[in-house]
């Protein structure tokens, strides 16, 4: 797949901070679905060559594999990118969050992150657990002060209310990540409820799930991949993070991003209207609805019951490698 050497992806301001990121971001979770490390490394190289600077990851993705593969891909190229990963205390102490940071830095083969976020704010009591004494908020402050991270933020896909309550804690976030797509615009909407608030506060917005998580609406022919990506990228966000699990998908996304022209407002509205009927019961956004889409690691940390028939739970309980301590000591 030939690539024009002059191809680039537009850069955008990272909120009120003195930094810029590519309008399309490279999602870390799907990198673990690449056939092998060699392919993953090649994907990272090609993404950088194609103009992507924003790289997403998370301490708990694939029990560390995606951070390790991304770290290998970024070797010698670290200064060309804006690197983000997430910490996964899920309500537990700052100390645990900081130990995860050191592990992430080691896996990613770097001495600092551009952005470090608290992963997966989902439950109604998450904001309260975050801001409590010894909570994760203290870890974000300390990591920034120690120079290990430049910016801090949080992520979540479950509830716009929980996001707003995180902002209500008064913590000075630099970035916030959330699902943004044409279905979201019609259903328990982050676009309507959270996005304007972030822009008002000068916080960088990181959109995710532009294809609804696993491209369900594209498979069913409601929207095309290009329409979906363009919709998300046309919103007032710093970047749109999308998962790529193969060189083909990477190539397709690079093409869309390199040729990106924002939709007009009338085109945006047409897409929202087209998705409205299918959006209304939330089945295209199960991450906002179903307990089965909860992260089992987070449920465990919160002492919520686990459904042991669920595949993610089985994976977690049966994991032999990269067991992502400290989770797993809990016996069932």
């Amino acid at each position: 797949m030939p690539q024009s050497p002059s191809a680039t992806i537009p850069l955008r301001k990272f909120g009120r901070a003195d930094a810029e990121v590519s309008a399309l971001g490279f999602g870390g979770h799907h990198l673990g679905e690449a056939p092998d490390e060699k392919t993953a490394v090649e994907m990272v190289h090609r993404a950088i060559d194609g103009g992507i600077t924003f790289f997403d990851n998370c301490w708990e993705y694939r029990r560390g594999k995606t951070e390790i593969w991304m770290g290998a891909g970024l070797k010698g190229r670290r200064d060309k990118v804006f690197l983000m990963t997430k910490t996964c205390p899920h309500g537990r102490d700052a100390e645990l969050a900081l130990s995860m940071l050191d592990e992430s830095l080691r896996r990613l083969q770097t001495d600092h992150l551009d952005l470090w976020q608290v992963h997966g704010m989902a439950f109604d009591n998450d904001p309260e657990l975050f801001i409590r004494p010894h909570g994760a908020a203290e870890a974000l402050e300390k990591a920034k002060k120690d120079g290990k991270v430049r910016f801090v933020g949080f992520t979540g896909h479950h509830s716009a209310k929980v996001h707003l309550n995180m902002l209500q804690t008064g913590f000075p976030f630099d970035a916030v990540q959330m699902p943004l797509n044409a279905f979201d615009a019609n259903f328990k909407s982050f676009e309507k409820q959270v996005l304007p608030e972030l822009n008002k506060r000068g916080i960088a917005t990181l959109g995710m799930k532009p294809l609804n998580g696993h491209g369900e609406a594209i498979k069913n022919g409601v929207v095309t991949a290009e329409e979906a990506l363009r919709y998300a990228m046309s919103l007032p966000v710093a970047t749109t993070i999308t998962g790529m699990d193969s060189l083909e998908v990477l190539h397709q996304n690079l093409q869309i991003a390199q040729n990106f022209k924002p939709f007009e407002e009338s085109e945006m509205q047409e897409l929202r209207d087209r998705c409205k009927q299918d959006a209304a019961d939330g089945r295209y956004e199960l991450y906002k609805l179903s307990l089965k889409f909860d992260n089992p690691e987070a449920r465990l940390a919160h002492d919520f019951p686990l459904d042991t028939q669920q595949s993610e739970v089985k994976d977690m309980l049966g994991a032999q490698q990269n067991t992502g301590h400290p989770f797993p000591e809990k016996q069932f």
Binding site: F187, A280, S290, L291, H302, F304
Partner: protein, 320 residues
């Protein structure tokens, strides 16, 4: 649900359930109402009859139902059981247009009246307002809202309302139309108080407008609050009944459950503010992910007819 731990369950019930005003309607209803869905789940017609008779003997006068419950069986059973007693009770049923037009609603009304063996309803509510686009469909031209007014004008229903179990925002969207609703039904229980809360978001608004609040799902829909040990059935019922509502609708599918619920209702003393707060605190942590209120979280409690009418896949087709 059956309350095994209640040691007093062998003792027979005496006394009557207290009454409360139904919003600004001028009528009084029992602080506990009999849920219609579970009447269709009772083992026999005879048991359903006995449940209704004994409930009336103990002062229950509020009877809930819906056109679609058990394909009409719930309404038929209630109709038979109320024979000769119709004027002692407040009969509510619900219309199930799920976005369809007025004419469908009026046809359902005739069917409900026939099954319930009556010429009028005391309350007629729009059933299961749970999808994001429901308010829009209901208030569209020729929609269900127009049917409510027409039925009222024809003298076939006295009061009108709506119900839903999913999302306080959708209830508030319905209220934002300033339609003359007399009643509004919603889930109210101790977990709801701290999770996507109808109690904090919708109930004060209903009271401010003088709309009678009808509570439901006091134990989580299928007794989840009790099964998972958040509180006892008695605490759960008393919590719901202590809120500023006209009635708490409770599903009762056997004489045993009726006796247990009647006992709580006839001896009902409202919790005071500090007791209410203590229970909320007790339930708060387990409430925070919604596993005790699956009706807000999943499609498990969404009706089949409603999903069909919205052209949504069935619950079985969803990975929930």
């Amino acid at each position: 649900m059956a309350l095994q731990q209640n040691t007093a369950s062998q003792r027979d019930v005496s006394g009557v359930v207290p009454r409360k005003p139904l919003g600004r309607t001028g009528i009084q209803v029992s602080a506990m109402g009999l849920g219609g869905y579970h009447l269709g789940s009772a083992e026999t017609d005879r048991e359903a009859n006995e449940i209704v008779a004994k409930a009336i003997d103990h002062g229950i006068n509020f009877f809930d139902n819906a056109w679609e419950y058990h394909d009409g069986l719930s309404e038929e059973r209630l109709g038979k059981a109320l024979k000769g007693k119709r004027d002692q009770v407040v009969v509510m049923t619900k219309v199930c247009t799920h976005g369809r037009e007025k004419k469908t609603a009026m046809r359902m009304l005739e069917e409900s009246l026939r099954r319930l063996q009556t010429d009028h309803l005391d309350i007629w509510q729009i059933h299961e307002v749970v999808y994001e686009n429901d308010p829009e469909l209901i208030f569209a031209q020729n929609g269900a809202a127009e049917a409510l007014l027409a039925a009222q004008q024809q003298g076939k229903v006295r009061f009108i309302g709506f119900t839903g179990h999913k999302d306080p925002e959708i209830h508030l969207k319905m209220l934002s139309h300033n339609f003359p609703f007399d009643t509004i039904q919603m889930p109210l229980n101790c977990c709801d108080a701290t999770f996507r809360s109808f109690e904090t978001q919708v109930l004060p608004e209903a009271n401010r407008r003088g709309i009678a609040a009808l509570g439901m799902k006091s134990l989580g829909g299928s007794g989840e609050l009790v099964k998972f040990g958040a509180l006892t059935a008695e605490e759960g019922l008393r919590y719901a009944m202590s809120l500023p509502v006209a009635t708490t609708i409770s599903g009762i599918d056997s004489m045993q459950v009726l006796d247990q619920n009647l006992r709580v209702a006839v001896e009902f003393q409202p919790f005071d503010a500090s007791q209410m707060q203590r229970l909320r605190e007790q339930c708060r942590l387990s409430a925070a992910d919604g596993h005790l209120e699956l009706f807000k979280m999943t499609s498990k409690y969404d009706g089949k007819v409603g999903r069909e009418q919205h052209h949504f896949p069935t619950v079985e087709q969803l990975p929930l």
